[in-house]
């Protein structure tokens, strides 16, 4: 079994040299990605990785599928055109926090609202890696960087809340090095019918090392991560000793799970209020919500497109007859 997996996985590693910094979180994501592809076991030629520009966006070069390394921020639009023209392809969009949420925010918004069946993997390292470390829209206020030597002054965008506001139908999160968590989220994203947005907390070892350590470090993991499962109570901490419940004022609070068993919320991927509350949680008050936060059904753009398209993109008449339709006259 293990052997077989390894063999399959091999199919998805391209021959290109990987050009990330040693120690970059992108390596771990690449690994889990190829393993997930192997597990899903699709034919590589039916998979396309479309990416924008940034360190993360180099990923398509390293996976043995079709790949299109496009321009900054526009990968969702290119993927949209590709998906409409070839709806059966399995399309993954690889993007970064700058690529998706800075220059590309508008395309992300519209892709999410249209709900094409695409998987968007957003590598959030809270920095522009490729351009050498400037703050990004996900950088926390006060982030020092070459373009903000005294600290950035605009508050950060929360990728998940943004996606929620955009009408996203699948919102999930994982940590770069968390093979299991990331792997299962990638798999769910693949099987979700609609646009899946996966935010990966990815460590940029050169420009933003340990920026997520308040919940990813060994010491913090247990107390500041909550791994969601649909239909299961929202428990975390050592031996699941802590849980989340809702207060009267519609706010969340962390409580001792044993003494408040009945109050503990049950995860419901379809409830928008819960999605909002979970996506807003931040340490130290709360754990960070990981896994599939939201998953709902909505009309899928390319399905609507083909359903309403009278010829299903396959020509039914000749231009000869179309131009001869209507008020024509003949000179003899």
């Amino acid at each position: 079994m293990k052997n077989k997996k390894n063999k399959l996985e091999h199919n998805f590693s391209s021959s290109q040299e990987v050009r990330w910094c040693p120690g970059c979180g992108d390596y771990a994501v690449l690994k889990t990605m190829t393993q997930t592809l192997s597990k899903i076991n699709l034919s590589p030629e039916n998979i396309v990785f479309v990416s924008g520009i940034g360190c993360a966006s180099r990923m398509p070069y390293y996976i043995e599928t079709y790949g299109f390394h496009t321009i900054h921020g526009r990968a969702p639009s290119i993927a949209t055109g590709l998906k409409i023209s070839q709806p059966d392809l399995d399309i993954w969009v690889i993007t970064g926090d700058g690529d998706a949420l800075s220059i590309g925010g508008n395309h992300l918004l519209h892709t999410l609202r249209r709900n094409l069946n695409l998987n968007i993997i957003l590598f959030n390292n809270e920095v522009y890696g490729l351009t050498k470390g400037q703050f990004s829209p996900t950088s926390r206020i006060g982030t020092k960087s070459p373009s903000s030597p005294k600290g950035s002054i605009g508050s950060a965008v929360n990728a998940g809340l943004f996606a929620l506001g955009a009408g996203g139908t699948f919102i999930a999160r994982a940590i770069d090095t968390d093979k299991r968590g990331l792997g299962s989220v990638l798999e769910s994203a693949h099987f979700h019918k609609g646009t899946s947005l996966v935010e990966v907390f990815q460590n940029c070892i050169v420009y933003n090392d340990k920026v997520f350590s308040n919940f990813t470090s060994k010491e913090n993991a247990i107390d500041f991560q909550i791994h969601l499962e649909n239909g299961k109570p929202l428990l975390f901490g050592k031996d699941n000793s802590k849980g989340l419940r809702i207060r009267n004022n519609l706010e969340l609070e962390v409580v001792d799970s044993k003494n408040n068993k009945d109050d503990i919320l049950i995860h419901d991927e379809t409830n928008p209020v819960l999605s909002q509350l979970l996506l807003s949680m931040e340490p130290p008050e709360f754990p960070v919500a990981l896994g599939v936060i939201r998953k709902v059904e909505k009309q899928i753009y390319e399905n609507n497109f083909y359903e309403s398209h009278s010829s299903k993109m396959k020509r039914k008449v000749s231009i000869n007859s179309v131009i001869r339709n209507g008020d024509i006259w003949t000179i003899t």
Binding site: E45, F68, I71, L82
Partner: protein, 612 residues
């Protein structure tokens, strides 16, 4: 009303202009009159001039919408310099159009609209009927408002609804003036509207106008025009608008390539008409994607092309500018793509509904780095059909994005079109290998194009992107020599297209001579008409559809003339290219008013060049 010629039948063509408020239905009325003219067997050309505002306040000067048609038994090349007949629905329409008219022109005014209020809105100090302003014209006063409301009285419509029939009443009258049959127009009305009351009231108004002409005293004040049928070559014809011909051409190209087409766009004047037309053409295997902006739209088109469909995108100045970065991605990844630019007055928002041909240098040079791209241009309304096919053919055959230039004038003008037969066109060969792919980037020897291997193809897995690629493997390469090689390749690939396009022809006149009048785009008709009028054996018209690369023989051809005159609706952009690419030294004749060339101003300039 003074000494009136009863008929102009001795003339071979006449220009007539309808003008009124944006909400008066002038464009609709004009278009139907053009159709009717076509069915009558006369040649014609039309031009629409309307404001950027949707429905500007009634009666204002800037709210005037006009439709001009030049028709007759002669060969008609333009929509006419100056109208001999104006139908003015209100004072503003009169005010705005008065300067354009032929002296002696007939002006039919809707007296019902000549109220104090409307005169004030049109900024007439005094009623022009009481001044000398109209003394050199022949005024026909008709209370179209009243005639209309009376004619539809029995439908018990509201005042505003009744008033909306007035374009049909006027149309009826004009149909009578030109001796057209109204049956065709009646059946058109039957199809145009859904609501029964609207259909009936409009038909009634139409007939009222027609019979008013026939039975009333008008026949003594209005001339009648009877043009014998024009000399058309035999075949099937229809009236076609420029943007429609382009849409048909795109569909034809998809048929010739046997591929689906994805048209991805974002609305903008005057490009939207193409979007609208193609939105109705699903049966031809065309899909339309209205994106969130111009960048998304070109990117979606690139994505579609990557997926093996024909990606097409379309916009105007501001939107085309936004596509600049993405065009370079298509150049670098060598994907087929057609970018249609419906030029308008600029820069910036400029004059959105006015015409101009000033995006030529942007098309040829307007990208970062050495980024060559083929540029084609449409010259007449029907011409778009063939040029669209050519654009798609080049895009696919040479694996490159192609820019196709048209303009607001062409999109909104129309004329009779001898219907082509798609079966007589050469198929567009595609190179989408599906098996036995040995070398993914192996270029075609004659075109230098890479194969179009699309995702889903077994054995074809590869990666493309905007970073410089290795000539052989297609992998990322920062190698200096490779970059030079690829830069040369990109340039040579486009230059080489001149081996696949037709030689430049002479549109009118001899192949050598004293003066070549060289144009491109929508000035074709005006130039042609002016040379026909001058009919000097030393002057020829050379109109360029293939602008980048130029046809191989162009330099030689132009060197066969003593002088080269380049009239352009810009400040000399084709001239710049002729200097840069062919080392010629043309005379520039520029006009940037948002209005097409007049035949008269061209004649003047040509004569000046000849005399000099």
């Amino acid at each position: 009303m003074n000494n009136m010629k009863k008929t102009n039948i001795d003339e071979k063509a006449i220009t007539i202009r309808f003008a009124g408020d944006s909400g008066d239905g002038i464009q609709l009325m004009g278009a139907q009159f053009a159709k009717s003219t076509a069915l009558k067997g006369n040649d014609f050309a039309t031009f629409s001039d309307f404001p950027a505002e949707i429905r500007a306040p009634a009666g204002s000067e800037f709210g005037v919408s006009s439709y001009q048609i030049n028709l007759g038994s002669a060969k008609i090349m333009t929509s006419g310099d100056s109208p001999s007949v104006l139908v003015a629905f209100n004072p503003a329409a009169l005010k705005v159009n008065l300067p354009l008219l032929n002296s002696g022109a007939i002006i039919i005014i809707n007296t019902g609209a000549f109220t104090k209020r409307n005169l004030a809105k049109a900024k007439f100090d005094k009623d022009p009927r009481l001044t000398s302003a109209l003394s050199s014209f022949q005024l026909v006063e008709l209370d179209i408002d009243k005639l209309t409301s009376e004619s539809v009285l029995r439908f018990g419509l509201s005042k505003s609804k009744a008033s909306r029939c007035k374009n049909f009443l006027a149309l009826g009258l004009i149909l009578w003036v030109f001796g057209h049959d109204i049956e065709k127009t009646i059946s058109w009305i039957n199809k145009l509207f859904i609501d029964k009351d609207t259909i009936e009231s409009n038909k009634t108004a139409l007939k009222a106008g027609y019979f008013f002409g026939e039975t009333n005293e008008v026949s003594t004040t209005l001339p009648k025009y009877f043009f014998p049928p024009s000399d058309f070559s035999s075949g099937e014809y229809r009236n076609v608008k420029g943007s429609d011909a382009l849409a048909y051409g795109l569909a034809a190209a998809a048929e010739l390539a046997d591929l689906p087409m994805m048209f991805c766009s974002y609305p903008i004047t005057p490009a939207s008409s193409l979007l609208h037309k193609l939105s109705e053409m699903e049966e031809l295997g065309i899909g339309v994607f209205q994106a969130e902006d111009e960048i998304a739209s070109i990117c979606a088109a690139i994505g579609a092309s990557y997926g093996g469909a024909i990606g097409v995108t379309s916009s105007s100045g501001p939107g085309i500018s936004l596509k600049t970065e993405s065009i370079n991605l298509a150049i670098n990844t060598e994907l087929p793509l057609v970018i249609i630019n419906s030029q308008r007055g600029g820069p910036s928002t400029g004059l959105p509904t006015k015409t101009e041909q000033s995006d030529l240098l942007q098309a040829v040079y307007g990208r970062s780095a050495d980024a060559p791209i083929p540029v084609l241009s449409v010259s007449t309304a029907s011409d778009g059909f063939d040029i669209a096919i050519e654009a798609v053919r080049i895009a696919i055959h040479h694996m490159t994005p192609v820019i196709l230039l048209t303009d607001g004038f062409i999109n909104n003008s129309s004329h009779p079109w001898l219907l082509p037969d798609i079966k007589k066109y050469k198929k567009i060969a595609i190179n989408q290998p599906k098996r036995d792919i040995k070398n993914i980037f192996l270029r075609d020897k004659s075109t230098l194009a890479r194969p179009w291997i699309i995702p889903g193809t077994k054995g074809g897995i590869h990666r493309i992107g905007g970073i410089e690629k290795d000539f052989e493997t297609g992998n990322i390469s920062y190698d200096p020599d490779n970059h030079q090689k690829m830069t040369n390749l990109r340039i040579n690939k486009i230059k080489n297209i001149s081996n696949f396009i037709p030689n430049q022809e002479v549109s009118f006149g001899p192949a050598r001579g004293k003066l070549a009048v060289v144009g491109w785009g929508s000035s074709f008709g005006a130039i042609n008409q002016s040379l026909r009028s001058i009919s000097n054996k030393n002057v020829s018209q050379i109109h360029i559809n293939y602008i980048s690369p130029f046809p191989k023989n162009l330099k030689k051809l132009l060197e066969g003339f003593e002088k080269v005159l380049v009239p352009e609706m810009n400040m000399g952009q084709l001239s710049a290219l002729l200097k840069d690419k062919l080392n010629l030294n043309p005379i520039s004749f520029c006009k940037v008013t948002g209005q097409p060339f007049l035949v008269s101003e061209l004649i003047k300039e040509i004569n000046y060049c000849l005399d000099e």
